[in-house]
């Protein structure tokens, strides 16, 4: 996921839009060899029942639809953002059965019966989730595009820490680590903030981890 080829997502998006080979691209753009042979006779659809933020939705989906696109384009839940669409930026982070994942790198059809939680599902009766409130209080954002993913990730992080999960910076992986700032930073490394609001993001998470204020 971590390759340094940001132009690839641009390239694939352009190809999807039918502008492959446009002279404006700095590099020569030719269709992949497999592309020519793969035009289908018909595209079938799958009936998928998705449970999102406690509500069940019946959808009729092309199996190629990612969970991210199902949420945004089919259910109108646009809080979950599409950044890189290749699992590198974390803007699309949602929780599935309580665990955070990149919704861009999974198909909606794979999640029939799963419990999906998005940023829209965190508030209760109009009251922000403590993590949302802490991000506001600590100004844990600038442009805000990565924020829903950051917040979903942070909520899951606290549950993982509570379950005793170690991280890469845990000196002894058999121990139950204390959630110091370096632990928070490492555990949030799947969420990129282009505005670099990291200090305030860490402060917001630390605040909630320590009991926080509502």
């Amino acid at each position: 996921m971590e390759r340094i080829l940001p132009f690839l997502s641009l390239l694939s998006r352009r190809r999807f839009l039918g502008t492959a080979g446009a002279a404006t691209l700095a590099m020569a753009s030719q269709p992949a060899p497999a592309e020519a042979a793969a035009e289908p006779a018909s595209i079938h659809h799958e009936n998928v029942a998705l449970t999102v933020n406690g509500r069940r939705h019946a959808l009729d989906l092309d199996p190629r639809v990612t969970l991210l696109d199902a949420l945004r384009e089919h259910l109108g839940l646009t809080g979950t953002k599409k950044g890189c669409d290749q699992g590198q930026c974390g803007a699309c982070t949602v929780m599935v059965n309580g665990q955070r994942i990149n919704s861009c790198l999974t198909l909606a059809v794979m999640h029939a019966g799963d419990e999906i939680m998005t940023i829209e599902g965190l508030e209760e009766a109009g009251v922000l989730h403590p993590m949302q409130a802490a991000f506001v209080r600590h100004d844990g954002m600038q442009c805000g595009y990565c924020t829903p993913g950051q917040i979903c990730s942070a909520v899951a992080l606290l549950a993982e820490h509570k379950a005793g999960w170690p991280s890469h910076v845990t000196a002894d992986v058999a121990s139950a680590p204390v959630l110091i700032d370096s632990e928070i930073a490492e555990r949030m490394s799947g969420n990129i903030c282009r505005c670099s609001a990291y200090p305030n993001i860490v402060a917001a998470i630390r605040d909630v981890a320590e009991g926080g204020r509502r």
């Binding site: 080829l5 694939s12 190629r64 990612t66 290749q86 699992g87 974390g90 799947g190």
Partner: protein, 327 residues
């Protein structure tokens, strides 16, 4: 993505039978496969989803090891207290790779079978012998900073990207599979991967429709276990070089040693040469350097990745010094 049929398997047997067609692919976590499908590097016509099969448990084995189901997520392996206590190198290696979001989805079997991140494999405007056999390897004279330095060929210098597999190789893990005809077999992890030779598009010894069911770890070897990874940023980056060591000492001499490198070859690169130098030697930096020289004796850089050869030697020295407490 090119269109495909989607089949959610309800048994191992039906999954293997469905996936026997050559253009079928198993999908479990999908974090690598879907990325490649979006780029149309992978173009399966059938996806066999094994996400509802069993194969998601970690169990004790009669010999005192652990059997990890193919669908157990990387996160679940790294967080398992039995793994953390008895195979810390495996937890360390998994936690050194990717992000939590990816580890929560990526599975044990899928991690082993992930494709290379060679930039030319990913760039469909360029030739690549792995993508299009016979088209050439631009990495040889190109931007090969991330590529392999040992065990590869003039047709492909792609490196395997897994951290997990490096630790598993140091633990002598065995990969258990089932074929479409129901036959099962056990493959030492070191024999899972095929050298690129003139056929770099064939990466493993697995047959179409053959499914990894589990990975078994033998009882923990004696000694301290340690994974050290060197990368371009502190988190969420592939290894430039990594090394897994298991080393035991008696009276300041090395009594047992296992050495496996990551990031330098088409597979986790076990070094019997380094192990032979270490066993019986004094636990000193001079011995560790000698082991590193033996391990990398047949390595060669391709320009931008020349640094990997000395870096691998130094990473080994640092890991062994850390594991043994040598000064």
């Amino acid at each position: 993505m090119t269109p495909f049929r989607y089949d959610r398997a309800d048994s191992v047997a039906s999954a293997c039978a469905s996936a026997r067609e050559p253009t079928a692919k198993f999908i479990a976590g999908g974090t690598n496969l879907l990325d490649l499908m979006k780029l149309q590097i992978e173009t399966p016509t059938l996806l066999v989803d094994i996400g509802r099969l069993s194969l998601a448990e970690i169990e004790e084995t009669a010999e005192g090891g652990l059997r990890i189901g193919a669908r157990v997520t990387n996160s679940a392996v790294a967080a398992d207290m039995r793994v953390r206590r008895r195979y810390p190198v495996l937890s360390q290696a998994i936690l050194a790779g990717a992000s939590t979001q990816l580890r929560n989805k990526a599975t044990t079997g899928g991690n082993l079978l992930q494709r290379t991140r060679c930039p030319y494999f990913y760039d469909t405007t360029k030739p690549c012998n792995k993508r299009i056999p016979g088209s050439g390897c631009p990495a040889l004279g190109g931007l090969n900073r991330m590529n392999a330095v040992i065990g590869v060929s003039e047709d492909c210098i792609a490196a395997h990207g897994s951290d997990m597999a490096v630790a598993m190789a140091a633990l002598d893990a065995r990969v258990e599979t089932i074929a479409a005809n129901g036959a099962t077999r056990t493959i030492p992890i070191d024999a899972l991967y095929r050298p690129p030779g003139t056929t770099p598009h064939i990466e493993t010894v697995l047959a179409p429709g053959e499914l990894i069911q589990s990975v078994t770890l033998p009882p923990p070897p004696p000694g301290r276990q340690l994974y050290r990874k060197v990368r371009d940023r502190a988190s969420f980056a592939f290894a430039l070089v990594s090394v897994a060591v298991v080393v035991a000492c008696e009276d300041d001499r090395v009594s047992a040693a296992r050495v496996v490198f990551g990031g330098i070859s088409y597979k986790p690169w076990r070094s019997p040469e380094a192990e032979a130098v270490l066993i019986g030697a004094a636990a000193t930096r001079a011995s560790f350097d000698a082991a590193g020289r033996a391990a990398l004796a047949h390595a060669r850089g391709y320009g931008h990745n020349d640094f990997k050869v000395p870096l691998a030697r130094r990473a080994l020295r640092a890991a062994l010094a850390d594991a043994t407490g040598a000064v």
